[in-house]
């Protein structure tokens, strides 16, 4: 279910979406290894609060509508899922280098360049 929600948050467009990038695997690892015990419990409680069978049985557009409501209501669990999805996506190689851009070794700093010349948001 996490993979489905993540894909709704950052779907495939002209670049891969969260599912193809494996964001759900990242989220699992984060919750298991990065979080404190308290944070982990809160996350798992939040996850259990979403009825996964009912959710996955809905159409994609119904699912998106449900998530949109949670998002607009600033539901805390949904916000934490969204945050994890963004981190997992934009720190991935695809997210950082294909969807956005990343230069490991800039070699210089130019403080005032046209955005058009840069093109997209820097991932880092």
């Amino acid at each position: 279910m996490v993979a489905t929600i993540a894909e709704h948050i950052l779907p495939e467009t002209d670049t891969p979406g969260a599912r193809a990038v494996g964001v759900h695997r990242f989220i699992d690892a984060m919750v298991a290894e990065s979080y404190t015990a308290e944070e982990r419990q809160r996350f798992l409680d939040g996850l259990a609060g979403l009825d996964s069978r009912a959710f996955l049985a809905c159409t994609a557009s119904d699912q998106l509508a449900m998530l949109g409501e949670l998002d607009r209501a600033s539901d805390p669990f949904f916000r934490s899922l969204k945050d994890l999805t963004l981190v997992g996506y934009y720190t991935s190689e695809v997210g950082a280098t294909r969807e956005l851009q990343y230069v490991p070794l800039p070699g210089r700093y130019d403080g005032c360049v046209p955005l058009a010349r840069i093109g997209r948001t820097w991932a880092v």
Partner: protein, 569 residues
């Protein structure tokens, strides 16, 4: 203590610590012909080879930079508060659990440490500002602390000396209270900073915003650099893009052929010979085997960092020095200071949507002190001394997506473009020297190496709190005057130590009754013992102190070598 093993041939000089001052002491002593032993308590780190995270891209970090919170809470509860601490730099910070110290419950102290060759010079903030006589006369003028035994003109040639080697990028301002030096070209401001700079300088004549004077090379310098604008200095830099003991001073010392370095060796005490009335060397505990060694030298430089140097002095007791070596004044451990920080304001710089940056600048901008300059007609404020402001602007990135509603294709498309320009101002303010801010040794408990635990008793007081309030008010005024929107102040106050500018525990002074070291950093009581790290500072100024530590160190070495040659030491 364990069995003493081995007696070495005496060195000309012993330097305790390999951090920013230890590295300089080693270079200068070696270049002047002295066989020098540097003793570092932490592990060996090889420049380049041991910067194990330097080349890792975000997706190559095990937790993508998010770290492991339980590990941090258990082993790094103090270090993990530091801005430079993270998944990619943790190995350059101490394990707090393995290196405890003691504080009263109502006086926490945040001791940020890096126990490795190079010390915190690997992870420092790299800002390099000269002091002026506004700073050196502060104690004499308002009566807090003891008068400095030196003035700016004593240190000026040594600031020249260190800046030439370090390579400081910056611009000249012609401000009497923030003396110019010899600079490499300054880093660039970005457009948002330019807008704010012009707005502040127009609305507040006499105030300036400049680029931070920083030890990141904007051009190749003495075989190092230039900085590659990755803004990840604390991982270590194999380009030598920033100044550290590993990139600069230790290699220079090694080149003379006169340097010996031992690591994993904790100095327990300085050996004082009562009959000859001099320091003769140091006792060292092997960090792993706990065995004890003694090393001998004609002069000893304590560069172990402010708290560690005090701990060593206090632990070096003898019949003449029952309260600690060189402590006839009773001031060893006392007058501890740090800077206040983490107060300021933020705002959105409107417009400039069509502008962006290339590269990741390793520093920010700076607003020099404008309070209590002693100029006619200046605003009267309710506090003594002053503060400077570290600042910077940047465009919000993809992380802003988590703070606003929006998901799906619309979110993804929106995050392809950067968000608004955010400008942030943070004050760094001076702390008054107070006798009641001090360190001492726990009478009963020892740390894993056998050293008595250090106890730190330090608290902010009214002057520092008043500075915080003015910082917030002025930062907000300046951002508003510059046309920023959504201006808010912030205050993430923390305990002393959190600015990592702790200093003062073996202060310089003219009078042996009220100070520990003299105008040349020689202990009044023990002339062949020198203290040149942060411990020697008699006041704290509001600017980053490392450049001043460096200049004081090289001046003290110059004096030590001259005295040795004259047969006075």
């Amino acid at each position: 203590m364990g069995r003493i093993i081995g007696k070495e041939e005496p060195y000309d000089a012993i330097v305790v610590g390999s951090g920013i001052t230890g590295g300089w002491a080693a270079k200068e002593l070696c270049e002047r012909g002295l066989r020098t032993l540097v003793i570092e308590r932490g592990r060996h780190v090889e420049h380049g080879k041991d910067y194990v995270t330097e080349w890792l891209k975000p997706w190559q970090l095990a937790h993508r930079g998010q770290g492991e919170q339980e590990l941090y809470q258990r082993d790094y509860p103090i270090q993990s508060h530091n801005y430079a601490f993270g998944e990619a730099t943790r190995h350059f910070f101490v394990n707090d659990r393995e290196h405890p110290y003691v504080t009263p419950d109502d006086k926490p102290f945040r001791w940020i440490r890096g126990y490795q060759l190079g010390g915190r010079s690997l992870i420092w903030g790299r800002a390099c500002w000269r002091w002026s006589d506004l700073d050196f006369t502060a104690n004499a003028r308002d009566g807090h602390g003891g008068d400095w035994p030196i003035r700016y003109h004593d240190l000026a040639p040594w600031y020249d000396h260190v800046e030439r080697f370090v390579g400081v990028s910056g611009e000249r301002l012609g401000l009497p209270h923030l003396p110019d030096g010899e600079f490499l070209p300054a880093w660039q401001m970005n457009c948002a900073e330019g807008v704010v700079k012009r707005g502040i300088e127009r609305a507040f004549p006499g105030r300036h915003m400049t680029l931070t004077r920083v030890a990141n090379l904007t051009q190749a310098h003495l075989g190092r650099g230039p900085c590659q604008a990755r803004n990840q200095c604390a991982r270590g830099c194999s380009f030598g893009g920033y100044f550290s003991s590993l990139s600069a001073t230790l290699p220079a010392a090694r080149q003379t052929g006169r340097l010996t370095v031992i690591t994993d060796a904790i100095v327990h005490s300085v050996i004082y010979d009562e009959r000859r009335d001099r320091a003769t060397g140091v006792r060292v505990i092997d960090a792993h085997t706990k065995a004890t060694h003694e090393y001998f030298g004609r002069i000893v430089f304590l560069c172990a960092s402010t708290l560690a140097t005090a701990q060593i002095l206090l632990n070096s007791k003898s019949p003449r020095f029952t309260t600690g070596l060189a402590n006839s004044s009773g001031e060893v451990g006392h007058n501890l200071m740090d800077h206040i920080s983490k107060a300021g304001a933020r705002g959105v710089v409107p417009g400039l949507e069509d502008k962006y940056v290339y590269g990741r600048r390793p520093t920010g901008t700076y607003i020099p002190r404008f309070r209590n300059l002693g100029v006619r007609g200046e605003a009267k404020v309710e506090f003594l001394r002053g503060y400077g402001i570290q600042a910077g602007a940047g465009r919000d990135g993809w992380a802003r997506g988590a703070d606003e509603p929006g998901l799906g294709v619309e979110l993804k498309q929106r995050l392809r473009e950067p968000g608004p320009w955010q400008m942030s101002l943070q004050g760094y303010g001076e702390c008054l020297p107070r006798h009641e801010n001090f360190v001492d040794l726990d009478p009963a408990r020892t740390d894993p190496s056998g050293m008595p635990l250090l106890r730190v008793h330090c608290a902010w007081s009214e002057n520092e709190r008043a500075i915080r309030e003015d910082v917030k008010a002025q930062a907000a005024h300046m951002l508003e005057a510059a046309g920023c929107r959504e201006v808010v102040t912030y205050d993430d106050d923390g305990p002393p130590g959190f600015s990592v500018h702790e200093m003062g525990t073996a202060r310089m002074g003219k009078d042996p009754k009220t100070s520990v070291v003299n105008a040349y950093n020689q202990a009044h009581d023990v002339p062949n013992l020198f203290v040149t790290d942060g411990a020697c500072m008699a006041s704290s100024s509001c600017v980053n102190p490392s450049l001043t530590y460096m200049a004081i160190t090289v001046r003290a070495v110059d004096h030590a070598v001259s005295e040795l040659k004259r047969g006075n030491l």
